[in-house]
Symmetry: C3
Subunit: 166 residues, 3 copies
């Protein structure tokens, strides 16, 4: 893969991941579903309501997001690697803010793990799964936790760093 | 437009949008204003205090941000398209945190919509307007809400997703 | 430096900065330390616990992050400039969320200031220091504040912008 082609594909794929956020926050679900392959597999968690096989099922499933009054999905930490000129993996962080109808909010710090393929209509997301680093108390959806290594045996927490000097 | 030129212009424009955030958080308003054309049109909302026509008016207007003790503007979801080699449109999300003088805070999840042109001094922002996806209770400024599609007739909210399993 | 090389180096360096966040949130400290030169100098603040000289000391020092139950580091506003083909400076914003063992949280809006060099193993971080734009009440670590210009003499705060119209 030529360097210029890799840089351009990086840009194109980033644009797809960003478009997902924008379409979701506007609840333009047909535009959102068009970012995926017709036979996509999407799994945000183990609950059947969080799984969709195929573009049509995905569009139908994402209607659940209307239970929120408003949302805002900020993508960052995008990392893309290529298996070939037509196959890519992407990992990204999503800081997602959701507002319940009553005005209180739910925030998640999550990650998307995507496989993409390039066809005649450009890059499409073929598989998406999700993990979460954490969330505030308002967010209740069962997204699988990201793995985190454990401290070595005998490690002891420093105590002075989190105290305001006074 | 050559691919390499488009990729480079994408980088240059991203740098301008990022510089805006950095200059704003440091309240370096002359550096901030220099990112705009001399005849720029900036409209964060309908309130006359949120509108500035021209670079000088913008620098003067942005002095309102000194009412905050501190701010931090995180840009994401940057999307850029080109009308020509010298004309571009950019959309970006801004997660903006503001601290009142008394220590409580105000957070907005907003978007910037920009038109840029390239002149002898490089890319400059010619027009900027703003929308917001949402905000916390501390944020009171009247930014126009982003449009969001309505659910289809008969849609019913799922109820089990937002309950902690126990 | 050829344009294509600069664009590619921008991508490579962004990937390093992003990998830092990912490794940190997973507490993969050997992978994190491998992003730095063997003689790196890292200074998050004046407290000796926040300073590390050398890759080994850094890996040891970052073990302090195990005191958090979970973390999520979102990078944005990445700006990179080149001194030569093998020397670069990077500035980035980090929105870092931390959860205490008891479930309450600490959020900082910080910035990283990095010097990088390119050797036989690619780009490595040689120096890193940190500033913060702000933080919520839960975050107590003594990160140096970012500089912010003062208002001109006689400036008076507008009063109507932060009041809900009713």
């Amino acid at each position: 893969m030529q360097l210029i082609d890799a840089l351009n594909a990086h840009r194109e794929i980033s644009d797809i991941l960003i478009a997902y956020c924008r379409h979701l926050d506007r609840m333009n679900l047909s535009a959102l579903a068009a970012l995926f392959t017709s036979d996509c597999m999407v799994r945000f968690g183990d609950d059947p309501a969080l799984v969709a096989n195929g573009r049509e099922a995905l569009e139908h499933s994402m209607a659940r997001m209307w239970r929120w009054k408003r949302t805002s999905h900020q993508l960052s930490n995008i990392r893309i690697s290529f298996g070939s000129q037509r196959e890519a993996k992407a990992e990204s962080y999503v800081h997602a803010w959701h507002e319940y109808q009553d005005g209180h909010s739910a925030t998640i710090y999550g990650s998307y793990f995507d496989s993409l393929i390039k066809g005649p209509d450009g890059w499409k997301i073929e598989q998406r799964r999700m993990e979460m680093n954490g969330a505030d108390a308002g967010f209740k959806v069962a997204i699988p936790p990201a793995p985190r290594m454990a401290p070595p045996a005998g490690w002891r927490a420093p105590t002075h760093l989190d105290q305001t000097s006074s």
